[in-house]
Symmetry: C2
Subunit: 395 residues, 2 copies
């Protein structure tokens, strides 16, 4: 065996590097792969065999041959493995199995407070994952990674929540360690709005590199994709616009202790409170949405003004981040054009023309699946990375 050939075989990630060329989803022949990789066909042949054996790639049709054995084409085989995707809200867990291209294979939604603590919530996730695997006739060996969204600040590198305000028991809890102990798979953990931003981009804006996803619900937060990458910031709190002060908010006290926070003015509960002050009974975002749907003018006006408050903060986001798309999601997005109109009014009046020249502000099209799709993308990206494929090759 030549030195070169031995080095190729012994290379720490030769097959996983070749696999990166196949991740585009298009079929390739061995000859194309050899040219793309700058490697000899014999080398490519060995690596393709490894990936075929793992099932990560599969033959696709037959390319035209110039005689002799027809050169097969290969492509990513997204069904070869399964990822677990979890979106934990304040009071629900959405648990999904998907293939490696984020197509949902099975799903489950349950009401359960995140305040139950990590052990009980994650135990439920693991049990649900096993039941879902059984329901589609697959087993735990097919499961390669998990993506998990949590409703609070998360240090993505370690997968731990950091001083989350509504998650008692979770502060510093080692979610990836627990998942490795109980399911034997790596877990990628992120803030719930961050995974919604990734999911929305995957579903509706795959070509957009600068996207801001704003969740308006019980709280208000955002996920920032800039230059094609999710931006998490130094402590994982990037996008936390709920506690930015708005002009109208002087004197209104927020749960955080400060005054005038956007969340205290424009969240679902804040709008409900403003309606109660006018003698209109409303407690929750759902009740506000019901009033808007009935055509209640006070509710419509309150939602429009909330849009203007959100627009005030988004104007600053437009200056700072210069996105080309702002997506409004979360339960209050159910107020539709009434909310968007208020946002539009302020953002276009206040921003520099260059920054709004090609800016779209739209309602979420991914809706309630944005979170689990984003979590699935996080998990699949890891599974298909050189590191993830190396782990499959090794084990």
């Amino acid at each position: 065996m030549s030195d070169t050939r031995r080095a190729v075989i012994a290379g720490p990630s030769g097959a996983s590097e070749l696999f990166q060329l196949l991740r585009d989803g298009n079929p390739h022949t061995r000859a194309e792969l050899a040219e793309l990789a700058g490697l000899a066909r014999s080398t490519v042949g060995l690596r393709v065999d490894e990936l075929l054996e793992l099932g990560l790639i599969a033959p696709v049709g037959e390319a035209a041959s110039s005689g002799g054995r027809p050169p097969s084409q290969f492509a990513l085989n997204p069904g070869a493995r399964i990822v677990l995707a979890v979106d934990c809200g304040a009071s629900h867990q959405s648990v999904v199995l998907s293939d490696l291209s984020s197509t949902i294979l099975a799903s489950d939604l349950q009401l359960r407070p995140i305040a139950d603590g990590p052990e009980r919530v994650l135990q439920h996730v693991v049990e649900t994952a096993r039941a879902l695997l059984a329901s589609i006739g697959r087993n735990e060996r097919d499961l390669v990674a998990a993506g998990i969204g949590l409703p609070g600040p998360v240090e993505h590198a370690t997968g731990r929540a950091v001083r989350p305000p509504i998650m008692p028991g979770w502060d510093g809890f080692d979610v990836p360690g627990w998942m490795m102990d109980h399911l034997g798979i790596p877990a990628l953990v992120d803030n719930d709005v961050n995974i919604m931003a990734i999911g929305e981009r995957t579903i509706a804006f795959p070509e957009v590199d600068d996207l801001l996803f704003v969740k308006v619900a019980t709280g208000i937060g955002s996920g920032i994709i800039s230059g094609g990458s999710l931006q998490r910031g130094a402590q994982g709190t990037a996008g936390d616009l709920g506690h930015v002060r708005v002009a109208r908010g002087d004197g209104v006290v927020c749960d955080c202790g400060n005054t005038g926070c956007l969340e205290a003015m424009a969240s679902g509960p804040a709008i409900a409170r403003q309606l109660r002050q006018q003698g209109i009974p409303a407690e929750t975002a759902a009740e506000v949405l019901a009033l808007v749907a009935e055509g209640n003018q006070a509710a419509i006006d309150a939602v429009h003004q909330a849009g203007r408050d959100i627009g005030e903060v988004l104007t600053t986001c437009v200056s700072l981040i210069n996105p080309s798309v702002i997506v409004i999601g979360g339960s209050m997005a159910g107020a539709g054009e009434h909310l968007i109109a208020g946002i539009h009014d302020v953002v276009y009046a206040r921003s520099m023309p260059i920054a709004t020249s090609s800016l779209s502000i739209v309602l979420s099209s991914a809706g309630s699946t944005a979170g689990v799709i984003g979590a699935s993308v996080l998990a699949s990206e890891h599974a298909l990375s050189p590191q993830g494929v190396d782990a499959l090759l090794a084990g």
Copy 2:
């Protein structure tokens, strides 16, 4: 010759890929490179010879040998090529030659308005570059790339200014095309505050991945480094915080036509105007700084209040971007602790504790060299990239 060996030689960027391993600046032996690259020593030998011939790497000492020919060590040779770095302000051009590790070899600073237009300004840059090359005994063949900062929004991908307010004649001008025609080198063009952010990080915070550089001078702007990358946004206007509205600014009209912009409240000329309204003669940032240095209490108070206004906007930046370092630069940074104190007061009082738990707010240490160092880094990064090294190998 084996298939593998032929493929390696014919590979489009074999040597430039190997070179990426040598960019870390550390010495490596052929054997180490073979292991790192997962390639045969014979292959590595051919590629090392190509890079030695170009001068991009050079032998460094001798590693301990296990007998026979001693295996040489190689490392990046930063002096092998030169880059041109230019920082254009509203009224000056700073032109510098540096080596590939951004060490400045020669420099020139001239007062010349950017409003002279691109042809005259760039002609001056080219003539200065030639004179500086002659002064250090190098020639144009050694020059491999240019980095250029401009005082307005720039579409980095095309190197063109986009509707810049203070740069008549520059809108849409093809700076890289002009530089290629006149000096035969690629040019990387960016906004002046963006290159200052890159320069400040290179000099003072090489380990920091989330840094906000704020320039406070005639205008106010910022450069955002998030997740280790400069963020430019969809139209190249990311970081444009000069026209964010501040609470104190109600009714104050900005040059942009809106009211209450940060720039209309806290820039050098804005502070001077506030002092004139108190009967204190001041026109420019320099005059304000002189008053502060003399201990003029009205000037000190005005600078402190400007710091509070800047702090109001930076509080939102902290929520949105979650940087670990905010650097204050530009001429008004000369007011030092008076400015920083105002910023501190507001940012720490208003931000969520998690976002400020490990946040530093400091004065620029790169000072007036931040821009040219950043421009040099942009140019060197390009020259040392696979694409840049391929160009050198091809021609």
